[in-house]
Every structure is written in C-alpha cells, then in structure tokens.
Symmetry: C2
C-alpha cells in the first residue's frame, strides 16, 4: 500500500498524503477478485498507478473548498481507475510497449487481455462510484467518460489528417484528456458541498491544466528521452496523429518540408525523429506549443483566485506550474 | 425507430411491443452526439440491435411481477447497450467479420475504432443508468459488468487449455453470458418493486436461460450454417476455446481422436470443421451438450412457478423453450 508517487510531486501532495493512502486502499479493495488469473493481472497493472495526479487534484480541490470525507476517497479512487482503464486501452491502440519504465499490459499479456482488463477497470470504476449515496457523482462520471470516448473517437477519425486545425486539436485534447482532470477537480469541490461558482472554477482549473498537460505530453513525445519519460515515445507522428507542434510546423515550414511532414502524417509511417525535430526547431514550433501550454497554465491558476488561501490552494498552484517543468 | 426484432420472437414479444419501442427511443436518445463521426459509427452499430433479447427479458419480468414504468424502459436500454458493447469488443477479440449478416465494426472500421466504440457504448450505458433516482440499479449493473469481464478474462486465461473441465466451462459462461440475462430479469422485477424472493427467482430464471443460451450458441458455432446464424462461425476451436461439446468429446473420444482434438485446442489452429464434426458425432457430444442446455431450460422454467399466470409469464416460458429451437 506504499505510495508510488514520483518524488518531485510528493511535496505538493503533502496536505493530502494520509488521504491518498486511504484512496489506494479503496482502490485495492475494489479490485479484489475471487479469480487468481484476475488478481495477477490487477497486480501487474498496479504499477501504472504512478503520479496519482487525478486523485491528488480531486483531494486538493476538496480540501481547498471544504473538508475531506468518504466521498472524496471513493471518487478519487474512481477517477484513477477510469484513468488507468484509458491508459490500458490507449497502449493497445497505440501499440505502445513501455509505460512507467515497465512493459505495458498488451506487451506482456497480449491485446486481448489488455482490452478485457481495460473493460474490467472501467466496470469497477462505475461499480465503486455507485456505492455512494447519490446518483449525482455517477452521472458526472458517466458524462465525463462519454466525452473522453468521444475525444478518442474524434482523434482516431482525424488520424492521418494533415489538415487538422489548432482548434480541432484543442477540441480533441479537451475531451480525451482535460475532461477527466476537469471532472476530478469539480468532483472534489462537489464532495465538499461547495457552491456552484466554486464547482465551475474548479472545473475550469482542471480543464486548463489538462489541456496544458496534454500539450506538454505531446511535446515530450517528440523531444523527450525514453529513459526519463518512462514510456514509448515518438508514436504520434508514426500513428499519423497531428499535435500542436506538428500543426504549427505544417503552417510555418518552407513548402518542401511542410509537404514532406504532411506526407508523414497521411501515411503514418515516420521512422526515427531526427528529421521531424529539425523541422520543428526551424519553425520554432516546440516553443510555440510550450507557450500555449504556459498560457493555459496561467488560465488554470487564475481560476484559483476564488478559493481561500492555504496549503491546498498553494499545491494546486504549484501543480499547474509543475506541468511546465515535468519531463515524465 | 422500427423494431428489427427477428420474426419468430415477435409473437413472444407481444405483451411488451409498445414498451420495446419506447426502449429503442431511450436507446437512440442516449447515443446522440454532437460529433458527426460518432453519429456515423452509432448508426452503423444500430444494426446489431437484433433480437433485443435482454430488454425483452427485463420488460417481461417487469410485467410478470408488476406494472411497467420509466425505470424499466431506462434499464432495458441500459442492458442492451451493455450487451452491444460486449459484442463490439468480442468481435475484435475473436477477429470476427460477420454479425447479423453484416460486417462487424472491426471489419468495417478497424480494431481501434471498434475498441473505442465499445468503450463509448459502455460509458453511455452507465451514464444512462445513473439518470435514475436510485443508486441501486447502477450498483447492480456495475456488479454485473464486473462479473461479465471476469468471465471474459477467465475464458481468455483458459484459451488453448485442453484440460478445461465442464464445471470450469459453466463458471465461465455463467459469468460472461448468463450474468447479464440474470441481472436483466432481476432488474425487471426490481423496477416493479417485487419482493426479494421474486427477485431471486427472476435472477435464477435468467441465469439458467443464459447458460442454456450460451451452450446452444457454442453448439451452433460448430454445427450452424453461416447463412442462417448470420455471424462468423467455427471460431471457438480456431481460437482454442474449449466448449461443452469439445470438453465432452475429449473425455469420450478414442485416444487418437482425443489427442488430435487436444492438439487443435492447444495450438488454436483448426482450419475447417469437417473432422471436428465427425469426432463430435461419434461421441454423441452434440446431443450431450443439447441435453444439458435442455436441463437448464427446465431449471429456468421451474423458477417461473412463483409468478402469477398471464401473458408475460407465458412469454418467459416460451422464450426459454425458444432457446432450444433457435438457429440464429
């Protein structure tokens, strides 16, 4: 039950450390099974529970707006379970073989097991959520996963699309990534019985932070070092996914480079990232993407002005700042 | 919104025809999306909504135990959505290319889209379920999908296992198939505010009927005609899945045939079903499996004795009988 939280985050998690341990316990309890083969798989996937970012956001939002209670612990375990389900399925769809410096479920046990394990995790997330005394949280979680799935379907629909616009990209990542961080923050305030304007502010914080997080994630996919990031990299261009740096580069590169990059995205066959990095450096597209991420971080922090000052609010501020510093 | 229910069932659905139309409306409303690419996929998958067996069971159980209301309509749409999600994912995992005489989602749009669309359907099932005024049904649905996923994981764990016992096989199909029919019937009675013994009887009916249904399904996989059944056949042995006829055959065939069949299951490479059928005929294994299915149908019908006589109960009796007659 020891926390596997990455070290640069542990200070920020200070105000909620004891509660995170309770969340891990709720999480483990929910995933217990009478079947040995299921227990083995769940043990294997537990290593994915790395940063616990969404539970931490939910708990910090809850503490910044009221007092933590049983609902926070349950909902924090729920959002982490939803997140893990999306990771397991994403790794199948992206043919990724490394995550948190370990083999992915699909790499270890095959695609069939990984699809089924993702289904098992999402089922338990809803099952756990419906143990609460109100349907409201279940409805919020259901609405959030609807939008996450839509974001994934939309991204898949635009696979190989070299005409993807920046606003379409933001629409995709708002749904597939930022929706869950937004809902996590909002549910933290909801479980503290905070008023509607605070719920909206926390949702806004989580949405902007989630967008910034995904932009940085997409930048790391291009410029990150696999040893530091701990997962398979350079997949986006290989899979024909346009991201903010490549969208910017397509619009600003000399005609020939743009045309070759467009060909890479359409064919989904980019081997090695040396050439891509050169193009992106020449057009300043990495700086542009990081600048946009920084802007969203600023938007996120602005939403916190509504909250009373304190350790939890400080941690939320630092967590947003941390998005720009992360290398993993 | 016209019902696509297969003709031999339409008479049995007589008592609930108007309600099934409402269920289809609830189903369609829930799956509406602002994204065109999502709408197209949902339109494509609507053709899977064939027999509407689980909604019909839920409505008939509801009518046999009380009066149909809004909760029945919502829950009937929920169980059908859960069922469709499992079909979409199963077809990916089984590499199946035909269902209801049409191409499967994976055959039409690829595995990535099919995995995501299955996730989208299950998400909407939970979202819809949590629109009800009580958490109880959501908790039942979550518990059911937990067990369905466990059944699938257990089946996958035993893939290529030529030592699978009959009781392990029954355990697998009880979870992966019969759990959802059992929960459908139980929820029908629950939404009618029926007492606990009636809920247990309806759950028992659905469990036995579901087990019989899956045994017959597995027999049809071997002896069915693709044109009649409307989906890819002869997949189980190819995929190394032992089913009741092959388990019986392994135990009763002459040593050489049994050893070759065991090899087929271990390797998961059985091309053509001519030889398999001969082995099964010689050991009477198809008759044995159908006899077991018939026994479970009898168990199902016995559970109905608790209910008042009437059209709904008659339909439930005939639906159980129909399992033995079905060719699709």
């Amino acid at each position: 039950m020891s926390s596997q939280v990455a070290s640069p985050l542990t200070d920020l998690y200070g105000p909620i450390r004891a509660d995170l341990a309770i969340v891990e316990h709720v999480f483990d309890e929910e995933l217990s099974s009478d079947l040995a083969c299921v227990r083995d798989l769940v043990d294997g996937v537990r290593a994915y529970r790395g940063k616990m970012l969404r539970p931490a956001l939910l708990l910090l939002a809850g503490q910044a707006t009221g007092e933590l209670n049983h609902r926070h612990h349950v909902l924090a375990a729920v959002v982490e379970m939803v997140h893990m389900a999306t990771l397991v399925h994403d790794d199948v769809l992206d043919h990724a073989d490394r995550r948190r410096s370990r083999p992915t479920v699909n790499a270890m046990s095959g695609n069939v097991t990984a699809v089924l394990l993702g289904d098992y995790l999402i089922s338990h997330a809803y099952h756990l959520c419906s143990s609460l005394d109100s349907q409201e949280a279940s409805r919020y979680i259901g609405a959030a996963t609807n939008r996450v799935c839509e974001g994934e379907l939309l991204q898949n629909h635009h696979c190989g699309d070299d005409q993807l616009t920046e606003s379409q990209y933001i629409e995709i990542i708002s749904r597939k990534t930022a929706e869950l961080t937004a809902t996590s923050c909002m549910l933290g305030a909801w479980a503290s019985d905070a008023p509607a304007d605070v719920l909206a502010a926390m949702r806004g914080y989580g949405l902007s932070a989630g967008i910034a997080f995904q932009i940085v994630d997409d930048v790391l996919d291009i410029v990150g070092q696999e040893g530091e990031v701990g997962k398979s990299l350079h997949l986006d261009a290989d899979l024909g996914k346009a991201t903010l740096p490549t969208i910017h580069c397509l619009a600003h590169a000399p005609r020939e480079a743009a045309s070759r990059l467009a060909g890479v995205l359409r064919s989904g066959l980019f081997k090695g990232n040396g050439e891509l990095r050169t193009w992106l450096e020449e057009t300043g597209s990495i700086e542009y993407a990081l600048g946009e991420a920084r802007r969203h971080v600023g938007d996120a922090i602005k939403q916190l002005e509504l909250l009373p000052a304190g350790d939890a609010r400080s941690s939320l501020t630092c967590l947003a700042e941390f998005i720009m510093a992360r290398r993993f």
